[in-house]
């Protein structure tokens, strides 16, 4: 097997026509099966994704096997061709809207997932802030669009024929597209405020969504990002979290 990339808690290998994600032992089995289930559910809706192949064990660690999509990630292409950034962003947003256009009634609900994430932050956020966040989340409308939950250019593969595929569905939910856009905005903003703004302009224009709606989600998605415990951007994220509703 040929190693493709190593990330935090996983090593990704290519094995012929398959891609094998081998997680370290910190990853609970349920998470791996859940990601496989998410992938299967999303793939059944007709969204372009790799096909699920199997969940198995490799040397005692859990591994998720999918088909291998020959191509490059959009993140790589953006870095290599800065002059084509606008074009890639356009494709990126179109594909995201295509994903949001699908429904998968059995996927977990976005609000449930974020409520859980906010509630897990007892050590980072005080009860008051968590209460504000939960209250805000509770007041958001209930929607049922397929949302990737971690949609950023490194999770989009541009196949050799130019077709886009989305991978890494561990955070997939059904819920509000605006929330999903807030996550993408946040992920962009962690590295480039300018690219984030460009993305948001494009998303809101193409989906005909007022920016205020996407923004209402930002404190919530910032909190969910905090709960992933990556810690590199905690200060930045906390600033986003500490806001109050208009009264």
């Amino acid at each position: 097997m040929e190693e493709v990339v190593t990330r935090g808690n996983k090593v990704v290998y290519r094995d012929g026509d398959s891609l094998v994600k081998v997680f370290n032992d910190a990853k609970p089995a349920s998470d791996v099966f859940n990601e496989a289930l998410n992938l299967a559910r999303v793939q059944e809706t007709g969204i372009n994704t790799p096909d699920p192949v199997s969940v198995s064990q490799v040397d005692g660690d859990w591994a998720l096997v999918t088909t291998f999509i020959p191509g490059r990630t959009m993140a790589e292409l953006m870095d290599e061709n800065p002059d084509k950034e606008d074009q890639y962003l356009m494709q990126f947003v179109d594909f995201q809207l295509d994903i949001h256009a699908h429904t998968a009634p059995l996927l977990q609900r976005q609000k449930d997932k974020y409520t859980r994430m906010i509630q897990s932050l007892t050590d980072v956020l005080d009860a008051t802030t968590r209460y504000e966040l939960e209250m805000r989340l509770d007041g958001m409308p209930n929607e049922t669009h397929v949302c990737h939950g971690d949609y950023n250019p490194s999770n989009v593969i541009v196949a050799e024929d130019g077709t886009l595929y989305a991978c890494d569905w561990a955070h997939a939910t059904q819920g509000s597209g605006a929330c999903d856009a807030a996550i993408s905005y946040l992920l962009f903003a962690l590295t480039s405020k300018e690219r984030a703004e460009k993305y948001l302009d494009l998303y809101c224009k193409k989906s005909d969504t007022p920016k205020q709606i996407v923004r209402t989600w930002m404190s919530i998605v910032a909190a969910s990002e905090l709960s992933r415990r990556r810690h590199e951007a905690d200060e930045f994220l906390l600033q986003w979290v500490d806001v109050v509703d208009y009264q």
């Binding site: 939960e134 007041g139 920016k211 986003w240 806001v243 109050v244 009264q247």
Partner: protein, 878 residues
Amino acid sequence: MADATQEVLDTVETIDSVDALKAAIQEMRTAEEVFATFDQEQVDKIFYEAAMAANKARIPLAKDAVEETGMGVVEDKVIKNHYASEYIYNAYKDTKTCGVIEEDIAGGYKVIAEPIGIVAAVIPTTNPTSTAIFKCLLALKTRNGIIISPHPRAKKCTIDAARIVREAAEAAGAPKGLIRWIDQPTLELTNELMSDADIILATGGPGMVKAAYSSGKPALGVGPGNTPAIIDSTADLKLAVSSILHSKTFDNGMICASEQSVIVLDDIYDAVKDEFQKRGAYFLNPEELDKVRKTIIINGALNAKIVGQPAYKIAELAGVTVPEKTKVLIGEVESVDPSEEFAHEKLSPVLAMYHATDFDDAVAKAERLVADGGYGHTSSLYVDVNEKEKLDKHQAAMKTCRILVNTPASQGGIGDLYNFRLKPSMTLGCGSWGGNSVSENVGVKHLINTKSVAVRQENMLWYRTPEKIYFKRGCLPTALDELKDMGKKRVFIVTDQFLYTSGFSRQIEEKLDQLGIIHESFWDVAPDPTLQCALEGTKQMKAFEPDCIIALGGGSAMDAAKIMWVMYENPDVRFEDMAMDFMDIRKRIYRFPEMGKKAYFVAVPTSSGTGSEVTPFAIITDADTGVKWPLADYELLPDMAVVDVNNMMTQPKGLTAASGMDVLTHALESLVSVMASDYTKASSLQAIKLVFQYLARAYDDGSDLEAREHMANASCMAGIAFANAFLGVNHSMAHKLGAFHHLPHGVANAVILTRVMRYNAADVPVKMGTFPQYAYPQAKERYVEAARYVGIQGKDDNEVFENFLKAIDELGAHVGIKPTIADYGVDETYFNDTLDNMVEQAFNDQCTPANPRYPLMSEIRDLYLDAFYGREPSSYED
């Protein structure tokens, strides 16, 4: 049922879980049942003591609130606490909230106030203690229990405020545990509370309000404000600037009604800016402005760190140095779009300031700011109060539930401080614009259920007749003398060709000549008068300009004259409107034009049938469209009716018979009408008796003066009766027989009369007529009363009724009425083809509603078919 001695439990000490909350609510329900039995005096004592206690604690509570939340100004929070206790007490001290709160004994109406039960009160961080006091006092005054859900950031002071009110209330006699609170607020508990309570008083941001409204319980929620203040060129600038500063600095800008933007007209912009600076505002330069922008709003949301902070601290957070005493930070900005941070609500002493090229521009900007962040809340205008046009324009444009003029918005919006008709409140409704169920300031009336007790009442009835009814043979010339006395100078006579050519009208003309009154005649009225004929007459009338109209003739001439009278007096009337059907003549939509301003109306009947000389009715046909316009209004009552049998002696046999049977139908229908009264029944009964005594004689011998005279009186009396009690379905059906099959009106009535009577007399009708006076089906009783009055006997009511029907049929037969509709030569196929149409139109006829039995269309159909074929009457009982 609870009584005041019932034991009230108060064992749940801490509400920190769903189980504890449910247990507490369970206990509160018992306390609430006891509280619900308290009278006004007991409640007012509790309200008084609770308000007193809260008032006394206003300073420590204010200190605690600032200390715990880190927001606001102690001295201002003292005012808020003071206001929430004193002003709320003062506003409602005399308001009735228990038992009967309104009573109209004569009108049979009263309103009883009942508590709603348990109020879930969500309290914000911005005004924690004052809002808690406010809501607890409202709950006590309305005999409700209340559970408070404090914000975690202001938990302690909110609970302290509630505890103070609770202890005072209990000391004053309130059941224990009526006021409670969630000790450890979580979303789960707040949501649970909202779904367990009976009503929600939510104050807070959109998330909270949405949660309240989605709980499934009735909610009084409020939403965010984004108050724009316009300063017009005519405003008192010093008053405007200081008012805005006063409001914006109040509790560091945390009142939701507070100004967020000032829109200043160009010609005074510099002066306003100078005044702001002079009074302690700091204008940010472009670089500083940008820094503050990024500080106050993060991703379009309000930075929690700036809420309720003083201006210099906010500046410091933004990395801008301003004098410590700076009252307000002002950013001069251009865009009113939400992408401009300063266009948002800021909940702090930070203000946006805009240029406006003119007043319209200012209003447009304010409109946009309201739409983007403060729909339904509050707006403000500084202007010379004599600038009515500007005030109107502003009021029309603002979609806000409070529009304040020359008033600091924080203090103005909460009411009773800078204005005295807005109810004092800490919860300001934002209407449907803000997604709220109320648009006014929330008060005690929103926390009570009212029971309206309405006792059956009877309508005011009436007995309206022409001002003068003259009768007796030969009375016409004497009656006409009065025209001279009244100073009438120009008389217009409306009559038909026969009466004109045969010289009937000449006797009137001669009399008028004698009296020196000028006159003119219109003699072209045909039977079933047309609108076209009436228009012709009106044209002539307008040219002549009479001050008196004399209608001489049968129903046609009198109806035509009434229509001409209407068009002469009110040339712009529309027949579609005048002819609109009504359920109750006193509640009709159309207001009939006033009559009699130009001409006095005298009706002189020449046949004894229609009674039109004393009725408020007229019917006219549009010959072009075939549409009949039946008009009914007391404005159409003639002023004088002259019943002189000398004018009636030439009635031919057929007319005598038909109009005589018409009189009988008028009398019988008005007698059993749901609107019949003692007054009308007297006329109906006497008319029936006279018809029985004299119709046959008048028919047999047209020169029988006595019979003719009594029939003339019978006609007029029946007219008076149905002018006030109206008719019934007999006339409805007869109208359509006339319209579709050209049966003379009196004949059409007579041929179905006894069948309709039998139908009306049912003891168990499918449906009875709707009118409060009509208590139960009683048509048969009244028919029998008439029968006995006429002299008909029988062993019981049923037999008397049967004998009465027989007598009527015999009378009809005597005067030539045929037994069936078919006997009148109506074609069977055509009758059946038109039947459905006739049925529906008869059902919809204006005469139908007064019928004692409310007819089903299928019943009208059966009646028509029975009368057509002469079938044995079926049972009309349900």
